[in-house]
Amino acid sequence: MRTIWILAGVTIVAVLAVAFYLGGGPRRPDVAVGPSSLAGAPAASFQIVRPDGKADSLAQYRGNVVLVNLWATWCPPCREEMPALERLYRVHAAQGFIVLGIDQGESANVAAAYAHGRGVTFPILIDDQQQYGRAYAAQGLPTSVLVDRTGHIVKGVDGEMSFAEMQKLVAPVLRAR
């Protein structure tokens, strides 16, 4: 009988030690959220469509530096930001830089008509289920997310940016090889 009690005691101590190790104490989170705190996370990609109905996604542009811009035609700051985005795209396109304008929740004809009317030449995608907006924790429009050549987020920006601010954001990432 004494042996049973000793065995029971040893087993209890062993199980408690394993439980303590596996259960552990509080640990810090390893994933951040919000457009301003997404740095370092892999950029989420969803298959959506271009205005002509062809499938497209952020993942298609892997190997380029991509500035994802979440926008809508009804959003005044988005409209004001559009010329600066177009200029940035034209300046850096030869260096493997893409601006990806992802319209949030609108019909393809509405987004395409607006982009065409403003002389936008960078790719426009239609996200009618607003998947990118949720994945990048957008808190308003516009929201911009800079993705490096390996598909990781460099920075997320909430709100409108000027051309100079965009340059400051994009230039170091384009230089890094």
């Binding site: 049973i4 199980v15 439980a19 596996l22 989170p29 609108e106 907006g133 429009l141």
Partner: protein, 327 residues
């Protein structure tokens, strides 16, 4: 025999009280003093029975039940309060208390109608934990459950049938067409869940109320015969610029309706919310229950061993006599 029965009954009571934490996770009762008192009484009964059991297998079994009670008391008294985390599909939420991030899977109208969406919990250097609707998963001394909650995937169309952006300035995700209905409100003598969204392109806001199939019947809501037995949604469309309501309408899941110049369609279904409740540490629980079961089984066999030993001794004494006689 009486000591044995009393002890076993005390064990069953104690184990049932603790296992209730797993059967009904997240119940506030488990953090209340009444529950702690019930476990303390169970522990007292176990100790009293153990003192009478002496050094036997029944005592080992009672000791196992005491471990179970201690495990239950620790999770009830020291464990964190229950967290209920409801997020829009496709969003990520850090949970600092457990050093994890919860990935709420993207959803489609079909997946919410079928209630199949899952939540993935990711921790550094650990395997992903998949929490499906209705499932239970242990994470140390925590129990994770996916509690299905009503949700609606809303689509709005303006003039010419153009798709409109849906925003939720006060929702869990700004750019989300998924309504989570987290706010209860008293309407028509019952508690219903309400939510709302904005259509900034046309300066409209829409308040919505979720009606379960039972609510539809109770409130005698007029729905087409094809929608019988389905949940329904009430829309109240408001013109922000004019500061007036443009109309109220009710529609079944998947049915389009036009109110105030806006065509609205909602697919109703369920999407899980993550419930994180403290629970007994499973390894300790398994140890305690194992000792308890082994002890009970052994204690039932023990009298037979004694009887066999006495019978053998009797046979030996008796047998020796016969042998001598035979010799």
């Amino acid at each position: 025999m009486r000591t044995q029965l009393t002890g076993i009954l005390a064990e069953i009571l104690a184990c049932a009280l603790v296992l209730a934490q797993i059967a009904f996770p997240g119940n506030a009762l488990f953090h209340a003093w009444q529950y702690a008192l019930a476990l303390a009484v169970a522990a007292w009964l176990l100790i009293a029975a153990a003192s009478r059991a002496g050094r036997s297998l029944l005592a080992l079994s009672l000791f196992g039940a005491l471990i179970v009670v201690a495990d239950g008391l620790a999770s009830g008294l020291l464990g964190p309060d229950t967290q209920r985390i409801a997020r829009a599909p496709g969003t990520i939420t850090p949970i600092p208390d457990i050093g994890a991030a919860a990935f709420f899977a993207s959803a489609t109208p079909e997946s919410i109608a079928g209630g199949r969406s899952i939540i993935t919990l990711r921790r550094r250097n650990h395997l992903d934990v998949l929490v499906r609707p209705g499932s239970r998963k242990f994470l140390g001394a925590l129990l994770l459950t996916g509690e299905p909650m009503p949700v609606a995937y809303v689509e709005a169309f303006g003039e010419g049938g153009n798709h409109l952006t849906i925003t939720q300035p006060t929702g869990s995700a700004f750019l989300s067409p998924f309504l989570l209905f987290r706010t209860p409100q008293e309407i028509a003598g019952g508690t219903h869940f309400v939510d709302g969204f904005a259509l900034p392109a046309i300066n409209r806001t829409v308040k919505t109320v979720y009606f379960t199939p039972a609510d539809v019947t109770r409130l005698h809501l007029q729905l087409p015969p094809s929608a019988e037995g389905q949940a329904a949604i009430l829309y109240d469309v408001f013109d922000v610029k004019a500061n007036r309501s443009l109309g109220i309408g009710v529609a079944a899941s998947g049915v389009e309706t036009e109110i105030g110049g806006v065509r609205l369609r909602a697919t109703l279904g369920t999407y899980p919310q993550l419930v994180i409740a403290s629970a007994p540490q499973p390894y300790v629980l398994i140890l305690g229950l194992s000792l308890s079961v082994v002890g009970i089984a052994g204690s039932f066999l023990q009298p037979n061993h004694r009887a066999v030993r006495e019978s053998k001794r009797h046979e030996e004494e008796h047998g020796d006599g016969e042998h001598r006689v035979g010799a």
